[in-house]
C-alpha cells in the first residue's frame, strides 16, 4: 500500500510539472524555495529557482539565461516579429505613449538588449522637441519688442537639456546587435551602451528620470533585488515602467494562447533561429512569472508608490508603472 501511495504522489508531482496552470505551479515553486522543505534541498545548501519549468540552482540560472540570449541575439528582432506577428511594436509604442517623456529626460533601459525602447524614446523626445520649437515659432509670428530682445539674450542656450538614453544589458551580444542597429540608423549622440547586471547596476543613486525594463525582468534571478536597484537609481519623482508577459484574463483566450505558445513558438524558434530550447525556455518562463496583481505587490514592496498596471492584448502583456516619491 505504501508503494501505491508513493506512486500516486510521484504521478501527482509529475502532473503538477506538466500542468500549465500557472498559479498552482508558481505558488508551488515559490513555496518550495521559500520553505526549503522540498526536493530542491538536495542541492547542498544553495537556494534554487526556476528556469522555465526546470528547477535549477540560482547560480546556474543567470548562466543559462545568458546562454539563451547569446544564441538568439542575431535573430532576436526577427523572432519577436514572427512570434508576436508584429504586435510587440505596438506594445513598445504603448510603453512610450504612457511614459510620455519630455525633452531632457534621462532614460535607463535595463535588459534593453537590442535597444528597441531606447530608439523609440529618442524618437519620441526629438519629435516632442520639434513640436515645442514649432509652437514657439508659431507664437513668435508677431513678436513684441520685449520678445525680440529676450530672444537675442537666450539664443546661446540652444539645447539646454539633451535627453540621453542608457541601454544596460547583462549580455554583450545583444548590445552589439543593438549598437549595430544604432549605427545603421545614424544615431550618434544621446545613446550609451553598458554591460551590467540588473541586480547590481553600475550607476549612482538618483540618476535617471525613467527606468524601463521590457520583457527582461522575468529572466532576472532575484526580481526583488532588481526592483530595489531600480528604486535606487531613479531620481525622486522618477518612474519605473515594466513591460512583461502576464496572465491572460479571459479563459478561452488563455487556452488559445497556451496552445499557441507551446505548439507554435518553439517550432518558429527552431525554423527561424535554429534554437528550439531557448524558445521553450521563453514560453515556460512566461508561465512562471507572477501575475499582474502579485507583481504589483512586489513593486510596492520595493518601495514604489502609485503602482498601477495596464493590460495589453487582453493580458498577454502587462505594463506596470510605479513612482519613486
Amino acid at each position: 500500500m505504501a508503494a501505491s501511495i508513493r506512486l500516486f504522489f510521484r504521478r501527482a508531482i509529475r502532473h503538477s510539472h506538466r500542468n500549465i496552470n500557472i498559479n498552482f505551479a508558481g505558488s508551488l515553486g515559490r513555496s518550495a524555495c521559500g520553505a526549503g522543505a522540498s526536493p530542491c534541498r538536495c542541492f547542498s545548501d544553495e537556494r534554487s529557482t526556476h528556469f522555465g519549468f526546470e528547477t535549477v540552482p540560482e547560480a546556474e540560472k543567470a548562466k543559462r539565461v545568458y546562454k539563451v540570449f547569446e544564441s538568439v541575439a542575431q535573430k532576436y528582432d526577427v523572432m519577436n516579429d514572427a512570434m508576436s506577428l508584429g504586435v510587440h511594436r505596438l506594445w513598445k509604442d504603448m510603453l512610450l505613449h504612457v511614459m510620455h517623456p519630455q525633452p531632457g529626460a534621462r532614460l535607463l533601459d535595463v535588459a534593453g538588449g537590442t535597444g528597441d525602447i531606447a530608439f523609440r524614446f529618442l524618437d519620441y523626445v526629438r519629435s516632442q522637441q520639434e513640436r515645442q520649437q514649432r509652437r514657439v515659432a508659431r507664437s513668435m509670428q508677431t513678436p513684441s519688442w520685449d520678445d525680440i530682445s529676450n530672444n537675442y539674450s537666450t539664443e546661446d542656450e540652444a539645447e539646454p537639456q539633451e535627453s540621453t538614453a542608457v541601454v544596460c544589458d547583462i549580455n554583450k551580444e545583444m548590445l552589439q546587435v543593438g549598437k549595430q542597429k544604432a549605427e545603421q540608423m545614424g544615431i550618434t549622440t544621446g545613446l550609451s551602451w553598458v554591460v551590467g547586471d540588473a541586480e547590481e547596476l553600475p550607476f549612482d543613486d538618483d540618476q535617471f528620470d525613467v527606468y524601463t525594463i521590457a520583457f527582461g525582468i522575468r529572466n532576472v534571478t532575484h526580481i526583488d533585488k532588481a526592483l530595489q536597484e531600480a528604486l535606487r537609481v531613479l531620481k525622486p519623482g522618477g518612474r519605473f515602467m515594466c513591460l512583461e508577459f502576464s496572465k491572460v484574463t479571459n479563459p478561452v483566450l488563455a487556452r488559445l494562447y497556451d496552445a499557441y505558445s507551446f505548439q507554435l513558438i518553439p517550432v518558429l524558434g527552431e525554423v527561424i533561429a535554429g534554437d528550439w530550447k531557448s524558445y521553450q525556455y521563453l514560453v515556460e518562463s512566461i508561465r512562471k512569472f507572477p501575475d499582474q496583481e502579485e507583481f504589483k505587490g512586489m513593486i510596492e514592496d520595493a518601495g514604489f508608490y502609485c503602482v498601477q498596471y495596464y493590460n495589453l492584448t487582453a493580458g498577454v502583456v502587462a505594463l506596470h508603472s510605479g513612482f519613486k516619491l
Binding site: 554583450k172 552589439q176 545614424g186 550609451s192
Partner: protein
C-alpha cells in the same frame, strides 16, 4: 478590428521610417563635431577614446558604488579602492563584477554574486 491593427501597424512603421529618415538629416545639421566615440575598427595609431565622457561620468563600480578612473592604455575602468578593473570591449564597458580583473594580488577577492 484586424484592419484597425493592420492600419495602425502600417502607419506606425511608416511613421518610424519617416522619423528615421529625418533623424540623419537632423543629426548632420545639429552635430558639428564628429563624435569622439569613433569606430573602433582597426585603428593603428592612438585609438580615439572609445567611450564618451558623459557615460564615464555616469558609471560607478557596481559593488562599492564608487566613481571609477578611466585608464586609456589598457582601456579599462579602474576602481582603486577594491583594486579591480572593468574592461571596455568595442566601446561598451563591461560592468559585471565577475568579468572584472584584479589589479593587486593582495586585493580582497570579491565574493562572486549572482
Amino acid at each position: 478590428m484586424f484592419r484597425h491593427v493592420l492600419c495602425k501597424l502600417a502607419t506606425e512603421t511608416g511613421r518610424i521610417q519617416l522619423s528615421v529618415r529625418h533623424a540623419p538629416v537632423l543629426r548632420a545639421v545639429a552635430s558639428a563635431s564628429v563624435p569622439l566615440r569613433g569606430f573602433s575598427d582597426g585603428k593603428d595609431e592612438a585609438p580615439p577614446p572609445p567611450v564618451d565622457a558623459a557615460l564615464l561620468q555616469l558609471l560607478v563600480c557596481p559593488l562599492s558604488k564608487q566613481p571609477l578612473r578611466y585608464e586609456p592604455e589598457t582601456n579599462e575602468l579602474i576602481n582603486e579602492e577594491l583594486g579591480i578593473a572593468y574592461p571596455i570591449t568595442d566601446g561598451i564597458p563591461n560592468m559585471i563584477p565577475q568579468e572584472a580583473r584584479l589589479i593587486r594580488k593582495d586585493a580582497p577577492a570579491e565574493p562572486t554574486q549572482g
